[in-house]
């Protein structure tokens, strides 16, 4: 290797080497210091309550001895104010902070900030008496002014969730403080649903919101300040975490949980087993694993979210024929569908549309049962033969499986289905635009007030109701109409006495079961597992199948 010797120039190489060494050292040094700074900052002991983002918000120095801490899996549901949160989780992240006039327990609406709620005989005046001694989390007293302000403000700036009637200025004509602790709502028409809709609106503090002109962008710490049982002490949009602490001066029941945290986890079942989270929804086939373990308790939710089969009656005269839809009802084996596509996690859909677990479900309706022979007979009568193929529009994932199972079942009675699978959004938009023959639709919230039947099945209804999510598309636009039903829908809407309303809703279900505008296939329920020794106060609200969305799950109810 002689050429190396020839080319080596020792004079130059030593300074060069030194220079490189110094450069390296300098780089190393700078490289070391740069990452140190944020690291050092992170190591600063966090004072347990605040992050930068919430500087200046409510602080309380409470030492819980042996605090009850509950950790939950939670998606990023946005900033917890009534205006800035995302629709997912039904705004639960802000409901912990904000109270409403009524609250929801397992059975019904219960008095909350409202001590008393009187409806006048003509059904148009609601006199609400407020509880006294309610304090905002910054220490100010909550007054009747705050309630009036909240409703007026909501009419100007609708929050993420608001009932149609509360928002409509032509319906809710006046909101007035009639005494120190009394508000009077006056509505244009008597309404049986106003009570529930207005009752769950969050009350916001006037002294914070009165000058806010863009509530949707208002995400200062004080925007997440209410008079509810929990104070938001940490929210990080980047990390998807929320932390709440019990509010010491809360007017209501004691908090059974002192600290509530929501964290993202990758696999809920594993996180529950390792104790990372305290409550988890588990797949039906995993339920036995927890049922056999004495450490855990497994509970099932009411069955609400479900699938239904919808027929485009404008498209086909055949679909408009009641008997054709009934033939489908006879031909579909709901139990088999559940066994295959929902495992143990669903209950058969009711022909009267309102699901079995709805509090106003009428068991005395016409039940069809699985009867393929009868279906075949009806179809023959109608002249449907095997050469006719119907297009079945389905979404993705399990819906394809439901479609396949349906295809198999209907082949037995000689109906050929051609499955067209699209992603959920395309399916919804096609269903909404009426570009389908038969569609499988997924819908949540079947447990809500029965008035949703009116929104969905009344003719001449607002086609855009339901936000275009295919949950309310079968109005006049889809071709279904029944005068008799329309009449009952209006009648129940105007009845303010819940018992009388319930009777009408029962009648509506009977009629729906006869006319079968749509075929509910099944309503799914959830399995929940938790460690009762650690915390066992979980409940379900009567209209909603998610335990952690119930505020009462965290409060001491004794």
């Amino acid at each position: 290797m002689s050429f190396i010797n020839k080319n080596t120039r020792p004079f130059y190489s030593i300074p060069l080497l030194l220079f490189v060494l110094i450069l390296c050292a300098a780089l190393l040094a700078s490289g070391c210091t740069t990452p140190e700074e944020p690291g050092a900052q992170e190591q600063e002991p966090p004072d347990g309550e605040e992050t930068e983002q919430l500087e200046g918000s409510v602080k309380q120095d409470v030492d819980f001895d042996d605090p009850q801490i509950i950790r939950l899996e939670g998606p990023n549901a946005g900033f917890p104010s009534p205006f800035a949160h995302y629709p997912r989780m039904r705004g639960t992240v802000m409901k912990y902070i904000f109270d409403s006039l009524l609250e929801i327990d397992e059975e019904d609406y219960i008095p909350w900030l409202a001590k008393d709620w009187e409806i006048s005989d003509n059904g148009k005046e609601h006199l609400v008496t407020l509880r006294s001694g309610v304090k905002w989390q910054d220490g100010e007293e909550m007054t009747v002014e705050d309630v009036v302000f909240s409703f007026e403000y909501y009419q100007e700036y609708p929050p993420v969730f608001i009932g149609e009637e509360v928002m409509d200025r032509d319906f809710l004509i006046s909101i007035e403080a009639v005494a120190d602790n009394q508000v009077k709502f006056v509505t244009a028409e008597p309404s049986g649903t106003f009570y529930g809709e207005a009752g769950i609106m969050r009350i916001i503090p006037k002294h914070i919101w009165k000058d806010i002109e863009d509530p949707y962008e208002f995400t200062e710490p004080e925007a997440a300040m209410g008079c509810g049982p929990y104070i938001l002490t940490d929210y990080s949009q980047e990390h998807n975490t929320y932390r709440y602490e019990a509010y010491e001066d809360y007017w209501g029941p004691d908090q059974a949980v002192d600290v509530l945290e929501m964290i993202p986890v990758s696999e809920e079942v594993l996180a529950l087993e390792s104790g990372e989270i305290d409550l988890s929804r588990i797949p039906p086939d995993v339920a036995p694993r927890f049922e056999e373990n004495p450490e855990f308790k497994v509970e099932t939710s009411p069955a609400f979210a479900g699938y239904l089969l919808s027929f485009n009656m404008n498209d086909h005269e055949l679909f408009d024929d009641n008997r054709f839809r009934q033939a489908f009802t006879y031909a579909i084996n709901k139990e088999d569908l559940i066994e295959k596509t929902a495992r143990r996690g669903a209950k058969p859909g009711s022909p009267g549309i309102l699901p079995e677990d709805h509090r106003w479900y009428n068991p005395q309706i016409k039940h069809y049962g699985y009867d393929p022979e009868k279906a075949e007979d009806i179809l023959k009568e109608l002249g449907v033969n095997e050469e006719k193929t119907f297009e079945l529009l389905v979404g993705e994932g399990v819906e394809v499986r439901i479609g396949e199972a349906l295809k198999e079942q209907l082949a037995i009675v000689g109906v050929d289905l051609n499955i067209v699978a699209l992603d959920r959004q395309s399916r919804d938009s096609r269903a909404f635009d009426g570009e389908y023959e038969i569609a499988l639709l997924a819908m949540g919230s079947w447990g809500l007030d029965a008035d949703w039947l009116r929104i969905r099945y009344a003719s001449g209804g607002d086609e855009t109701a339901g936000g275009g999510s295919a949950t309310a598309l079968l109005g006049a636009g889809q071709g279904f109409s029944s005068e008799q039903l329309d009449h009952l829908f209006e009648k129940q809407r105007q009845k303010t006495d819940p018992d009388k309303r319930k009777q009408i809703v029962f009648e509506i279900q009977e009629l729906l079961a006869e006319t079968t505008p749509e075929i509910p296939l099944y309503n799914g329920f959830y399995y929940y597992a938790y460690r009762p020794d650690h915390y066992g106060g979980w409940i379900f609200m009567f209209d909603h199948p998610v335990m952690e969305h119930a505020k009462l799950s965290f409060l001491d109810r004794e």
């Binding site: 079942v269 086939d285 995993v286 694993r289 295959k340 993705e396 199972a405 082949a411």
Partner: protein
């Protein structure tokens, strides 16, 4: 009649001798791969005879474990898994073969044309090839698959669109040297047109190389089809292996249940077998086709 028979006999004999020659030059892994491939092709061909349950409708309770009339158990709809796998082999093999043929032939014709004609055609084709090589295929395939809609032929076309560039480059390089051969020049001189030369001289000469390439393409296409199906972009009601895997993986909590032990394992196993044997055979054939590699 007798002449024809004799001719046929001769052909068969030649094929046997060629096959024997090939067999003798394969490594043990190559031989095993060839055997497995042949078995899988036979499975696909004779699927209706091999499966005693239908592959598209349920034939038993949901999620039955293997045994008891269901060789490999059933899926969530109660469809026999063995039936789905033997019929699914058809999908995989059709996709593999279809893509390989389409892309291999298309690519090699483009390569030969580019090399033989030269000039602007060469430039245009080669720039196209460059573009295709630079484009990340999976994302674009996802877009195309979503756009064209899920059907088997669409998937083959989309896959072929993305895999013709490699054979084209390879064949072009070989053709460049081939076209300088005296006999090709002679043929052209006597008036042999492009297509005459293509079918008479270029393709036969380049066939071994092309075959090796096509085997690779087939392996890639099968995986790509399975990935698209896995991502939910295949025909969701078909019964390809990728789709079986897709349904299994989407079953909530499958890893906490014993179901994955058949529902997920078997299609995965068959997919792996098919693709691995294609790869091993391709490697061996490459060595056989290119004497420089065997030393």
């Amino acid at each position: 009649m007798q002449e024809a028979l004799l001719k046929l006999k001769n052909y068969l004999l030649r094929i046997f001798i060629l096959a024997g020659l090939l067999w003798s030059r394969l490594s043990p892994t190559g031989r095993a791969a060839l055997l497995i491939l042949m078995l899988l092709v036979l499975t696909a061909l004779f699927a209706p005879l091999l499966a005693w349950h239908p592959p598209d409708v349920s034939s038993g309770p949901a999620l039955t474990p293997p045994g008891d009339g269901h060789l490999m158990g059933t899926d969530d709809l109660g469809v026999d898994l063995w039936a789905m796998i033997v019929f699914g082999a058809r999908v995989s093999i059709i996709v593999g073969l279809g893509t390989a043929l389409l892309a291999g032939l298309g690519g090699s014709i483009a390569g030969i044309a580019s090399a033989y004609k030269g000039g602007w055609m060469d430039r245009v084709i080669m720039r196209l090839v460059d573009i295709m090589i630079v484009l990340p295929d999976l994302p674009v395939m996802i877009v195309l698959a979503a756009f064209f809609g899920p059907s088997l032929s669409n998937i083959i076309i989309v896959l072929a669109l993305f895999s013709w560039s490699r054979p084209a480059r390879l064949i072009r390089a070989q053709t460049l040297s081939l076209k300088e051969q005296p006999y090709v020049k002679m043929a052209a001189h006597y008036g042999g047109g492009f297509f005459y030369l293509l079918f008479r001289h270029f393709l036969p000469e380049l066939l071994p190389l092309l075959l090796v390439n096509m085997i690779r393409l087939a392996g890639m296409a099968i995986i790509a089809e399975a990935s698209l199906a896995f991502l939910g972009l295949g025909d969701p009601t078909s019964r390809s292996w990728g789709l079986i895997i897709n349904h299994a993986v989407n079953f909530s909590g499958i890893y906490f249940t014993p179901f994955w032990q058949w529902w997920l394992l078997y299609p995965w196993l068959f997919l792996t077998l098919l693709v691995t044997s294609l790869a091993l055979l391709g490697r061996d054939l490459e060595r056989v086709a290119d004497p420089r590699l065997s030393s």
